[in-house]
């Protein structure tokens, strides 16, 4: 039996739907409202070009995402201290949220602001004026946002991982410090396999690394924890970090279930773009841990309901695509579906933020292991191995590696991942560069993605 196809909505259509929902008794959370207000109030013009899922759960997700800066300001006004975590994507916030009165966010998230505002905010040219030009990845927008202060509130404390991190971020964060924003740096060493006879530790996600690296990171996290606790006026303790780990695992558990439900379904019940955003909630709970749980629960309920009633968001014959790296322009996720693909799995560069954090060991030890499982701190081959494993489980028919303009890792890692996929699974893949506003390159993108989807379809025919 075919699935019932649910069409996505444009921003205008969402306003009509919003009115209907309100009339029929929708109870909005405190950050709720019609989506179009983000265009008028915040200048998020890209929303006018995006297509959205029509569920109240998706509405809540988008509103949650798009009100983050506003909610941070409210939190500060209510007395919370704001921690700007940088680069580690998923470790420091687990600790910060465990301390009463602290709230962590990633200024790195400004990565998407040029896309959302269709560059009307001029953050990229402003970053260039500060010495960081287009040879760096879009995260350079963060630098200008710090300087102009018009986006996120200035954090009370900045923490950044250093060592095995991309050159782009390392250079930009250093520039930021020189501009007068003090940073607490902590070391994340490059992950390596243990040598014969060397003591080792197993990391979330199954990788194994040398024990001494875990010791190093644990020591560093203890230093970070001490500084965070000082900011919160508390004494750091394992009990505090344990609570943080358990709460993080609650979120990760929900997300894991959502991913399983959506990605393993024969026809996905939620669209790619909403899945990308839902996954992003794992890294710092979009500045509100409790609300993240509510948002993910709603999405999971919606996905299950649709699965039960055979409702899908793409055609039954959509090509199952495994996607690697976040897209600088969110519209690319819409385009994948418009052109006949669907998302069946992802590695948006923070898989470690979705892995379960071990609870059967001291919390800082567990967090250190989690931090070292970051796909970006080890060899591209490790990342490729995980992509292969997950793509196989998801029955992927094709893989897309999104190349991030200017990113130091993008020069070589795409080739390694695509080669591993071809070798292990024999499925076609493509690497495509996606700019923060990809309209101008849409014909090229269409050519490459559509050719990929066609190739994947042709392989179906050949199979007995």
């Amino acid at each position: 039996m075919k699935h019932c196809l649910l069409k996505p909505l444009s921003l205008d259509a969402w306003d009509d739907r919003y009115r209907e929902l309100v009339q029929s008794g929708l109870i909005d959370p405190f950050y709720g409202g019609p989506l179009s207000r983000h265009v008028t109030a915040s200048g998020d013009h890209r929303l006018e070009r995006l297509r959205f899922d029509s569920s109240p759960a998706a509405l809540r997700l988008w509103n949650f995402l798009l009100t983050e800066n506003e909610r941070l300001r409210q939190a500060r006004a209510a007395g919370d201290r704001l921690v700007g975590a940088m680069k580690d994507l998923g470790t420091v916030p687990v600790m910060a949220f465990a301390l009463k009165g602290l709230r962590a966010f990633y200024p790195d998230g400004t990565w998407w602001t040029p896309c959302l505002m269709e560059e009307t905010d001029c953050l990229l040219p402003k970053a260039e004026a500060l010495g960081i030009d287009a040879s760096f990845c879009p995260v350079r927008a963060m630098l200008a946002a710090f300087q102009d202060g018009g986006h996120f509130p200035r954090p009370d404390f900045l923490i950044c991982s250093a060592g095995a991190v991309c050159d782009d971020f390392s250079a930009i964060a250093q520039r930021l410090e020189k501009l007068g924003f003090p940073v607490l740096w902590w070391e994340i060493p490059r992950r390596r396999a243990p040598e014969p006879g060397e003591t080792h530790s197993v990391l979330p996600g199954g990788m194994v690394t040398a024990r001494e690296l875990v010791d190093c990171v644990r020591e560093e996290l203890a230093r970070v924890g001490k500084a965070l606790a000082e900011l919160a006026g508390q004494v750091p303790s394992d009990a505090i970090w344990k609570e943080g780990v358990q709460a993080a695992n609650h979120v990760r558990g929900l997300l894991a279930e959502l991913r399983r439900t959506v990605y393993r379904a024969p026809v996905p019940p939620l669209p790619a773009i909403e899945m990308l955003i839902a996954e992003m909630l794992a890294i710092h709970y979009c500045s509100d841990r409790e609300e993240t749980v509510a948002v993910l629960t709603d999405l999971l309920d919606e996905a299950r309901r649709r699965l039960g009633t055979r409702v899908g968001v793409v055609a039954d014959d959509a090509v199952r695509v495994f996607w690697v790296n976040p897209v600088a322009d969110l519209r690319a996720m819409n385009l994948l579906e418009e052109w006949g693909g669907c998302l069946c799995g992802s590695d948006f560069m923070f898989t470690h933020a979705m892995d379960f954090i071990p609870e059967n060991m001291p919390p800082l030890e567990a967090l250190a292991r989690m931090a070292l499982a970051d796909p970006m701190v080890g060899p591209a081959a490790d990342r490729a191995a995980r992509v292969v494993r997950e793509a196989r489980a998801a029955k992927a028919e094709a893989v897309v590696v999104a190349r991030i303009p200017g990113a130091s890792h993008s020069a070589t890692e795409g080739r390694v991942i695509l080669e591993a996929m071809r070798h292990a699974l024999g499925i076609p893949g493509v690497e495509v560069e996606i700019a923060p506003v990809c309209d101008a390159m849409q014909p090229t993108l269409a050519g490459r993605l559509q050719a990929l989807l066609e190739t994947a379809r042709a392989r179906r025919m050949k199979k007995p």
Binding site: L130, G131, I132, D133, S135, F136, C160, A162, G163, A164, V165, C166, D167, D168, S170, A171, I172, A173, Q174, R175, E177, K178, V183, W185, W186, E187, P189, R190, R192, A193, E195, E212, L213, D215, C216, V217, E219, E220, R223, P379, A380, A381, G406, A407, S408, H409, S410, A411, T412, E413, V416
Partner: protein, 326 residues
């Protein structure tokens, strides 16, 4: 066996102490003569290091990369598949103020020692080891003292020779006029042998390289740190000694680099800075604005692509910069 080191911060003395021959890959005479075929975004220096590393690995020598930038780490991934026994990535901590960073460096130092032993190296007796380490320290000190006694190219070649074969040979006669020309600092990434023409161009245009702070210049000799006697027998002491001499752009924070530059820029009355970076090197490229703000001096940014493809234009830009400084 020769052990090629891709960074000046990997202790070459330790290689020698194990009876092997250390070679600074970054000073290889072959560097920069080949036309790099670069994938977009790849640092031209890392790319060439990779190619040289492949050649040397194929000749049964060993290659050691430093983990200091993404480009080098990923370069190592492409050469150093797990089964290869003659390739090593030395984990150089980016942070340097914490105990964890010190511990990490020491652990790497010990792992590097095991690597050298796997290659067939045998640690010499403490007395001989101390002689090697002290000898290298003295050679570095001697080279440092030459900054105003030689022409820019001659000084750079002496340093390159030291990294290549450990010798600190200096021509007896001084050939520099310490008062002639506008004093400038050349700051940045590695300046390979083939790229020394930049130093010549500065001098031809009426400048004087009062500070060569590139990765192959005076900076690569490291910080002169107090070293309590002959500590060759103490692994901890040695590791601390090697770790504390690093001065580089990738350190976090990189205040050590700025403090080292400030001392020399002020002492040597530097009037302008030439920032040299390889195409694809984010770490140095990002420093232009910070250098300008920190020292309040005019900056000329030169990259390896310009040096490679358009020499007349490069010379013209350098001459125009010198005119401004005059």
């Amino acid at each position: 066996m020769e052990v090629y080191l891709a960074s000046p911060w990997i202790p070459r003395e330790l290689v020698e102490v194990h009876g092997l021959v250390p070679r600074g890959l970054f000073c290889a005479p072959a560097f920069g003569t080949a036309t790099p075929r670069m994938a977009e975004g790849v640092c031209s220096f890392a790319q060439q290091s990779l190619e040289l590393a492949r050649t040397h690995c194929g000749q049964d020598n060993a290659v050691v990369f430093g983990s200091s930038c993404d480009q080098m780490r990923r370069g190592f991934d492409l050469v150093g598949e797990p089964q290869k026994t003659n390739v090593f990535l030395f984990n150089l901590p980016a942070t340097w103020q914490s105990d964890a960073a010190q511990h990490l460096f020491r652990a790497e130092f010990e792992r590097f020692t095991r690597f050298l032993e796997r290659l067939g190296g045998r640690r010499q007796a403490d007395e001989s080891a101390a002689t090697i380490i002290d000898g290298a320290r003295d050679a570095r000190a001697k080279l440092r003292s030459l900054w105003n006694k030689l022409r820019a190219r001659g000084f750079a070649e002496c340093i390159a020779r030291f990294h290549w074969d450990g010798r600190a040979i200096v021509e007896p006669a001084s050939d520099a006029n310490a008062d002639a020309g506008v004093p400038v600092a050349v700051v940045g990434g590695p300046l390979t042998q083939a790229q020394l023409v930049i130093l010549d161009a500065i001098e031809s245009a009426g400048g004087r390289v009062a500070l060569n702070a590139t990765e192959t210049g005076e900076r690569s000799l490291g910080l002169e740190t107090p070293f309590p006697g002959r500590a060759a027998g103490s692994t901890g002491g040695l590791a601390r000694f090697f770790f504390s001499r690093i001065i580089d752009v990738w350190q976090r924070p990189n205040t050590r680099l700025y403090a080292w530059l400030r001392e020399r820029i002020e002492e040597r009355n530097v009037r302008g800075i030439v920032l040299w970076h390889h195409v694809g090197c984010d770490l140095w490229r990002a420093e232009a604005a910070s250098l300008r703000e920190a020292f309040g001096l005019p900056i000329l940014t030169l990259d390896s692509e310009q040096a490679h493809s358009d020499r007349p234009r490069l010379a013209h830009r350098i001459a125009a910069f010198m005119e401004i400084l005059k």
